[in-house]
Amino acid sequence: MSLLEIRGLQVTFGGLDALSSLDFHVNDGEIVSVIGPNGAGKTTFFNAISGMVPPTEGEILFDGESVLGLDPNQITEMGIARTFQNVRLFPNMTVVENLMVSQHCRTSQLFVGALFQTKAFKKEEREIRERAEEILAFFGTRLTGYRLDQPAFALSYANRRRLEIARAMATQPRLLLLDEPVAGMNPMETAELTGLIGRLRDEWGFTIVFIEHDMKVVRDVSDRVVVLDHGVPIAEGSYESVSTDPDVIEAYLGRPLESRKDRR
C-alpha cells in the first residue's frame, strides 16, 4: 500500500486553479521528485499536504487515514515533516534548540515536570537533546560542537539549509517533504547533499518527496519523477522517460517552431 495517496486534489485561489485533479502516490521507502517550471504549483502541493493550505476538493490519505481538515501540527504528529523553499528557521533560537523544539509533538512534559524537575522531565530533556545531537551529527561536523549553541541566524546559508532538513528530521516523520533542498548551494555542496538525500532513506528509513530544479540531483536520487505544469501532472516515470517526454520539454522550453507551423 502506498504511504501517501492523493486523489483528485484541487486547490483554488480566487478563480485560479493552483492545482487541479491531481492524482499522486508515494510508496513506502520511495524517493519521488516533483519538478516543473516556476508557478507550476509545486509548493502549493506541499502546502496542501502539510495542511497549511486547505484543498478545495480531493482526498489526501496518509497511511490510509485522511489528513483533510487537520491542523498542520496534527499532520506533523501523524508523521509528515517538511522544509521550506525560503529557509524558515527559528532564527533567534540556537541550533540545538531548533531541533529540540521540533520534537514537541513527540514529548509530553508540561507544568508539573518543569516546576518540580521530576525524573521523567529530566529524562525527556536528556533524550531530546541526545536525539538532536545525533541528528546533527548526520551532517558531519558542520552543525556540531560550538555551533550547537549558536543562534540559527549566525549560520552560513548552506548550513541553514542543512539545519532545515535536520529540524524536519527531528519531528520523527515517516514522510519527508523537501522543498528545493539544494537551491542556492554551490556544486560541491549540492553533490554532498545529493548523497545525503539517498542516505536519509537508506539509514533513517524516511520516505522522501522533494521539489527540485537541479536536474542533476533529480537524476541521481529519484526513483520516480512527477512533472507538474499549471497545477496538472503532465508526466510521470523514471528520469530518463520523463526527460525525453515531448510534453515535459514543451512545458520547460515551449513548442518547437516547426510544430507550430504544422498546427497552423
Binding site: M52, D71, N73, F90, M93, E97, A114, L115, E124, A154
Partner: protein, 597 residues
C-alpha cells in the same frame, strides 16, 4: 561625511553647522522645560541649601549636556580623527550661549505678552524664578553667563581624559543622588542608627531641606576619593565575571542570587516604613511584570489589556474576604480565596484568550486593549453594581491572617513579605518554564508561528497557556493589592497600569527575569507606579512625561533594555554578533590549517 572625503593628514575643520544646530536644540529644550512647569514646580525642593533647588537643576543640566554633545563627532575607523582644540571649546560655549539666548527670549516674552490661556505655565512665577526676582536687567546677563559657562564646562569635560570625566560625572551624580534621595536616606539611616550622619549631612529645618554647602563639598571630595581607593577593582571584577567560563559564571550568579535573596528577607527588618512601602509597591508591579514578561517576552503576544487579570484577582479576593461585599460575603481566609483567585484568573485568561488568540501582532494588541477596558467598565457599571459596588468598589477587605502576623496596609513590612513570597514563586515558575518544553514552544511561536505549527506545535494551546500563566501572576498581584489597600475600586485598574507594566518590561529587558526585576526596581521604585508614589515623590505629576521620555531614549539607545536577555540583544545586534562569529570562525580555521588533519 566630509570627514571621510578629506585627504588624510590635513586637520578637518569643526562642523560649525552641527554646533549651531545643537545650540538651537539646547535653547528649545530650555524653553520647553520651563514651559512644562518643571522649574517652578520643583523649586520648593531644595537640594543644596541655599544655592540650588531641584527646579534650577532641571534648567542647569541642559546647557552642560549640550555643551558636551556639541563637539561630539563620529570617528570612523581608518579615518583620521579631527584634532580637538580651542574651536571645540568655542563650539560648546556657543551651544550654551544659544541656550541662554533662548531663555532671554522667553524672559522678554514673559514680561511683555500674556499667553497664559493656552500655556498654563506662562506665569509670573516662572518670570520671577528666571530673573531671580530682580528684574530683566539682572536675569538676562546672569542666564547668558551661566549658560555659556556651563556650555564651556561641558566642552572642557569632553576634552578631558576619560578617567577624569568618569570621576567628575560620578561625583556629580553622587552628590545629586544623595541630595534628591534625602527622604529615603533618612529613613534608611534611622534603621541603621546612623542619624548622626544624616544630621551632619543635611540642613534639616523640618522636612527635606537639602544638603548644606559644606556637606556637599565634603561629600564631593569623599566621592572623588572613592575611585582612587578602589583603583578600578570593581571594573576588574566585572570584567573577570564576564570573561569567566560559563560554569564559573553560573556559580557567581548563584552566589549573587543568594545574597540578594538574603538581603530581601533580612533588610526589611531594619528598614523604615517609607522604604518598606516602596519595596512592597515594587514587588506588586514586579509580580505583574513577570507575568507580562511570559506573555510578551516569551510567547510574543502583545497584550495591552493585561490589567484585566489584575482586576480579576483584586475583585475575587475582595468579594471572598471582605465583610462589606454587596451580594456575597463569605469572609473567607485569604488562603482559601487564593485558590479561587487562581481558578478565576485561569477562567478569565481562557475567556479573553480564546477569541483573540488567533489574531496576530497589531490586531491582538488592539483587541486586548479593548478587553482590558471592558473588564474595568464592567466592574464600574451600574449593571454589576449589586455585585461589585460600582464606582464605590468593595471596602473593608480583611487583612491577611497568618498566625502571629496580620498583613495589612498599615504595616508595610508584612505586605512586603507577602509580596516577596509571591514574587519568589513567580520568578521560580518563570525560570523553570523558560527552559522547558513549553518555554521552547513559546519561543518558536514568537519567532515564526506558521513554521512552529508546521513543526508540530499546537500554537493555539501554547499561546493560551502563556495567557493563563500570565493571568495567574497578575491575579496574585491583584489579590495582594486588595489585602494591602483593604479595598478595591475600578479606578485602580485603568489602562495606564497595563501600559506602565509594559514599559517596565521593555525598559528592564524583555524576556529576562533579572531585567524585569531591575526594570520594576528602577521605574516603580524611583518614579512610582500609576497611583503609587516612588522614591522621587516630587516627580509625581511629571511621571508620565518622564516615562515617555525614558521609553523614547531606551528605544533609540538601548532597545534591548537595561539588563537584556542574551537572546534579545543578539537579535537586536545581529550584525555585530555575526561579525564576531565570523572573526571567531576565521581564527579557528587558521588554527585548523596549521594542524595536520
Amino acid at each position: 561625511m566630509t570627514a571621510t572625503l578629506a585627504p588624510s593628514g590635513s586637520s578637518v575643520a569643526l562642523d560649525w553647522r552641527r554646533a549651531l544646530l545643537w545650540g538651537g536644540i539646547c535653547a528649545l529644550s530650555l524653553v520647553s522645560v520651563s514651559l512644562i512647569g518643571l522649574p517652578v514646580g520643583m523649586n520648593k525642593r531644595i537640594l543644596i541649601e541655599p544655592v540650588l533647588s531641584l527646579g534650577y537643576l532641571f534648567l542647569l543640566w541642559i546647557p552642560l549636556v549640550f555643551g558636551y554633545v556639541a563637539t561630539t563627532v563620529v570617528v570612523l575607523e581608518g579615518v583620521e580623527a579631527r584634532k580637538s582644540g580651542v574651536a571645540d571649546l568655542l563650539a560648546g560655549l556657543t551651544a550654551g550661549l544659544m541656550g541662554g539666548i533662548g531663555l532671554t527670549l522667553l524672559m522678554v516674552g514673559l514680561d511683555t505678552v500674556n499667553i497664559r490661556k493656552p500655556l498654563v505655565n506662562w506665569s509670573p512665577q516662572l518670570f520671577r524664578l528666571l530673573t531671580f526676582e530682580r528684574g530683566l536687567e539682572f536675569g538676562i546677563p546672569v542666564w547668558l553667563g551661566i549658560c555659556a559657562g556651563l556650555g564651556l564646562v561641558g566642552a572642557v569635560l569632553h576634552q578631558l581624559p576619560a578617567v577624569a570625566r568618569r570621576v567628575m560625572s560620578w561625583v556629580l551624580f553622587g552628590v545629586m543622588a544623595v541630595a534628591i534621595l534625602e527622604a529615603v536616606i533618612d529613613d534608611l539611616a534611622e534603621g541603621f542608627h546612623l542619624e548622626w550622619l544624616t544630621d551632619a549631612l543635611y540642613y534639616k529645618k523640618g522636612g527635606t531641606e537639602g544638603l548644606t554647602v559644606t556637606s556637599a563639598v565634603v561629600l564631593a571630595l569623599v566621592l572623588a576619593a572613592l575611585p582612587v581607593v578602589t583603583g578600578g577593582r570593581v571594573k576588574a571584577a566585572v570584567d573577570h565575571y564576564r570573561d569567566a567560563p560559563s560554569e564559573d559564571r553560573r556559580r557567581t550568579s548563584l552566589v549573587l542570587f543568594g545574597a540578594i535573596a538574603v538581603a530581601c528577607v533580612g533588610l526589611p527588618m531594619i528598614l523604615g516604613g517609607i522604604v518598606n512601602e516602596l519595596l512592597a509597591n515594587v514587588g506588586l508591579f514586579l509580580l505583574l511584570a513577570l507575568g507580562l514578561n511570559i506573555v510578551v517576552g516569551l510567547a510574543g503576544l502583545l497584550d495591552l489589556g493585561y490589567v484585566a487579570f489584575f482586576a480579576v484577582g483584586g475583585y475575587t479576593t475582595s468579594v471572598l474576604t471582605s465583610s462589606n461585599s454587596p451580594f456575597f460575603a463569605p469572609e473567607w481566609h485569604f488562603g482559601i480565596a487564593l485558590l479561587f483567585v487562581v481558578v478565576m484568573a485561569a477562567v478569565a485568561g481562557l475567556l479573553i484568550g480564546a477569541p483573540v488568540i488567533r489574531m496576530r501582532g497589531d490586531y491582538l494588541a488592539i483587541v486586548t486593549l479593548g478587553f482590558g477596558e471592558i473588564v474595568r467598565l464592567l466592574f464600574l457599571s451600574d449593571w454589576l453594581k449589586p455585585y461589585f459596588g460600582g464606582s464605590q468598589g468593595i471596602t473593608k477587605v480583611n487583612p491577611v491572617d497568618i498566625g502571629p502576623f496580620k498583613v495589612q496596609g498599615s504595616d508595610p513590612r508584612s505586605v512586603f513579605y507577602l509580596v516577596l513570597f509571591f514574587c519568589a514563586l513567580a520568578i521560580y515558575v518563570s525560570w523553570r518554564l523558560q527552559g522547558s518544553r513549553l518555554g521552547r514552544a513559546w519561543m518558536a511561536t514568537r519567532e515564526d508561528e506558521q513554521v512552529a505549527e508546521a513543526m508540530g506545535i499546537n500554537t493555539v494551546n501554547a499561546k493560551l497557556m502563556a495567557f493563563v500563566v500570565g493571568a495567574t501572576m497578575a491575579a496574585f498581584s491583584g489579590a495582594v493589592l486588595a489585602a494591602k489597600v483593604g479595598s478595591v475600586f475600578p479606578k485602580s485598574f485603568e489602562i495606564l497600569v497595563s501600559i506602565i507594566i509594559l514599559v517596565v518590561v521593555i525598559v528592564g529587558g524583555m524576556g529576562n527575569i533579572a531585567g524585569v526585576m531591575v526594570g520594576s526596581l528602577v521605574l516603580i521604585g524611583i518614579l512610582g507606579g500609576p497611583r503609587q508614589p516612588g522614591l522621587l515623590q516630587e516627580f509625581q505629576s511629571y511621571k508620565l512625561l518622564i516615562y515617555g521620555a525614558l521609553l523614547v531614549f531606551m528605544m533609540l539607545k538601548r532597545p534591548e533594555g537595561l539588563v537584556p536577555s542574551a537572546r534579545r540583544s543578539r537579535e537586536l545586534h545581529q550584525d555585530e554578533y555575526l561579525q564576531d562569529a565570523w572573526l571567531g570562525d576565521e581564527a579557528e580555521t587558521e588554527g585548523d590549517q596549521g594542524a595536520p588533519s
